[in-house]
């Protein structure tokens, strides 16, 4: 396989590289990913190690982001929290993209009754206020990170399904699909070999943006206390514990909040850059 002359190297990559904001977003995303993966190596303290002598210590050289009400190092907790937040983001979006893509492909390719049924399902799913559905489900199930991922994924696939369906509808009319049919390709081969690769670009964009959304949802759930359960750190629950001390320990709220803000912003910038790079109508400056 030569990567040298592929679509990505010759069109996509140069265009993305010219977009400074997207590159910045990409660098931040990579930085956070590395930090999350290398958390055990780079975190100065155990995230759950209690230190009674250093309760609510302000940021200092020993504790960059200060300590919390139990004397735990906030920097270490945010590092470990990023593992949870990013894991939730990726797995939830993975589930959403998988379901959405399959539904969209099938609806768009077969059209007719199948399309109508699947798209009405999408409409029905979109009627539920997703966040309250998640709240309701989580309160019935025990709050665990796996349930959270699944519920966020299962309530987030409709946008992807609509995108993929729209792409499929237009790709289906291309001559190369007729050609594939005429050389004897099965429906499955046409869908997965000819339509899917051509329908994925908008999905890539929505997945990148979706990661940001999923991280926000997880933070919100944890903030409300039904997400990731203490003592496991997550950006949301560090923020929660911070709110009780916000008058005299601002660092407890500021740093996890900043982490969420920067990550979500970075994913959004990257996602928009990817969208512009994939869109042939956007001219290169």
């Amino acid at each position: 396989m030569s990567f040298k002359n592929s679509y990505f190297s010759s069109i996509f990559w140069p265009r993305l590289r010219h977009n400074k904001l997207a590159v910045a977003g990409g660098i931040v995303v990579l930085l956070f990913l590395t930090a999350a993966l290398a958390a055990p190596l780079i975190s100065p303290y155990e995230p759950n190690a209690i230190n009674a002598w250093q309760v609510l210590a302000p940021p200092s050289w020993q504790h960059w982001f200060g300590t919390d009400e139990l004397g735990r190092d906030v920097f270490s907790r945010i590092l470990y929290g990023s593992r949870i937040s990013l894991k939730v983001g990726f797995v939830a979006v993975g589930i959403a993209v998988f379901i959405g893509t399959v539904v969209g492909l099938v609806a768009g390719y077969y059209s007719g009754v199948v399309d109508t049924i699947l798209m009405r399902m999408v409409d029905i799913m979109l009627c539920f206020p997703a966040f309250f559905l998640i709240l309701a489900v989580i309160t019935f199930l025990e709050p665990s990170i796996w349930y959270i991922m699944m519920v966020i994924g299962l309530t987030g696939w409709m946008g992807v399904a609509r995108l993929v369906r729209a792409e499929t509808l237009s790709i289906r009319e291309m001559d190369y699909i007729l050609a594939a049919r005429s050389i004897g390709c099965s429906d499955r081969r046409i869908i997965f070999r000819h339509i899917l690769p051509n329908a994925m670009s908008p999905v890539l964009v929505s997945a990148t943006l979706g990661v940001a959304g999923a991280i926000l949802t997880e933070s919100a759930l944890s903030f409300l206390g039904i997400g990731v359960q203490p003592p496991t750190p997550s950006w949301g629950n560090i923020l929660t514990s911070g709110k009780d001390y916000i008058e005299f320990a601002w660092w407890l709220s500021l740093f996890p909040g900043l982490a969420i803000l920067v990550t979500v912003l970075a994913y959004n910038l990257l996602g928009e850059g990817v969208r512009d790079a994939l869109d042939p109508r956007v001219k290169r400056q």
């Binding site: 030569s2 002359n5 592929s6 679509y7 010759s10 069109i11 291309m174 001559d175 190369y176 007729l178 050609a179 594939a180 049919r181 005429s182 050389i183 004897g184 390709c185 081969r189 070999r193 000819h194 690769p197 051509n198």
Partner: protein, 328 residues
């Protein structure tokens, strides 16, 4: 001499498209192909000509088995294809391949050239991977593509080269019939001749039968053994190419022929400018479907449908007065 065994034939073929009612347009039935009869002999090249929107492409897709007719039948080697089992039908479909008009939408932009051409072999599970690769490289050489192109993507090629790739893909199934749907109209004039010659070469090498759809009569004159002229979904005249270009029997053909640009000193026949646009295929005129634009039209043409009937040896036309008119 030409073999006269019929390989592909159409009998009373109809294809209609229904348009659903929407706020902007009333519902209606568009008749794209209306009672078409055709016979293609082994080794023959048949041209189909007509204005845009007259149903040429739909007829081509029907002949290639890519869409189903609403009525009538298509026979391949004497067998009605609608009666075939799914398995046999798939085999038939591989026997007739299509070459598309737009070389930019006929190749999957995310597939490598080698993968595009070898896909038919992969599906029929012909030989090992190495075997297929050598077959594909041989095919690429025959259509004039360098074997180094194997790993390239379609966007790296010009229209002419893409059309060569399309031809190689069609040949990979070892077809008996190729339907070429305006294969050169999207190309530069200088490239057109190359692609036409390539098609003719391939036809001779592989003993193919060719259906050549075009709106360019000068191309058809050069390429075809027989030419059928289509108007609003029907064939109005069908004759051996030489005969048709010497003396046509239908006023529509006359107008088409007069519109072909030629380079001569003398004034020659003036182009006959047809009045109005082509009527809507949602409402095909009564009687002779051409009467609204025909400069010879008489009372009879408005009421009676002329049959496509034999006028001379092997020359059919659908006109009430073709014997009386002396068309240029």
């Amino acid at each position: 001499m030409k073999d006269t065994t019929v390989i592909l034939s159409a009998h009373n073929l109809y294809k209609r498209f229904t348009q659903k009612r929407s706020p902007t347009s009333p519902s209606g039935v568009l008749t794209a192909v209306d009672n078409v009869n055709l016979e293609l002999a082994i080794g023959e090249t048949m041209g189909i000509a007509g204005e845009s929107g007259c149903g040429k492409t739909t007829l081509g897709k029907l002949m290639a088995g890519l869409i189903q007719p609403d009525d009538g039948e298509i026979c391949f080697s004497g067998e009605n294809i609608s009666g075939l089992s799914p398995d046999r039908y798939k085999k038939f479909r591989r026997q007739t391949q299509m070459i598309f008009q737009d070389p930019f939408s006929s190749l999957n932009p995310r597939m490598r050239i080698g993968d595009i051409i070898s896909e038919p072999l992969l599906i029929s599970q012909a030989g090992s991977a190495a075997n297929r690769r050598s077959t594909v490289e041989a095919l690429m050489a025959t259509v004039g593509l360098r074997p180094e192109f194997f790993n390239r993507f379609p966007h790296e090629f010009s229209g002419g080269q893409r059309q060569r790739i399309g031809i190689a893909r069609a040949l990979a199934t070892a077809p008996a019939v190729i339907v070429a749907d305006e294969p050169v109209s999207a190309l530069d004039v200088s490239i057109q001749a190359q692609i036409i010659n390539l098609l003719l070469e391939m036809k001779a090498t592989y003993n193919l039968s060719l259906v050549f759809i075009s709106h360019d009569l000068s191309v058809l004159k050069h390429v075809c053994d027989r030419v059928s002229i289509m108007y609003l979904g029907s064939i109005v005249e069908s004759a051996p190419a030489q005969q048709l270009f010497q003396r046509c029997l239908h006023p529509y053909t006359e107008a088409l022929l007069a519109a072909v640009p030629r380079i001569t000193n003398d004034a020659g026949p003036r182009p006959i400018v047809l009045k109005d646009d082509i009527p809507s295929p949602f409402a095909i005129p009564s009687g002779c479907r051409f009467h609204t634009r025909c400069r010879y039209a008489r009372e009879k043409c408005i009421h009676e449908v002329p049959e496509l009937e034999l006028k001379h040896s092997d020359h059919r036309a659908a006109c009430h007065f073709s014997e009386e008119l002396f068309l240029s």
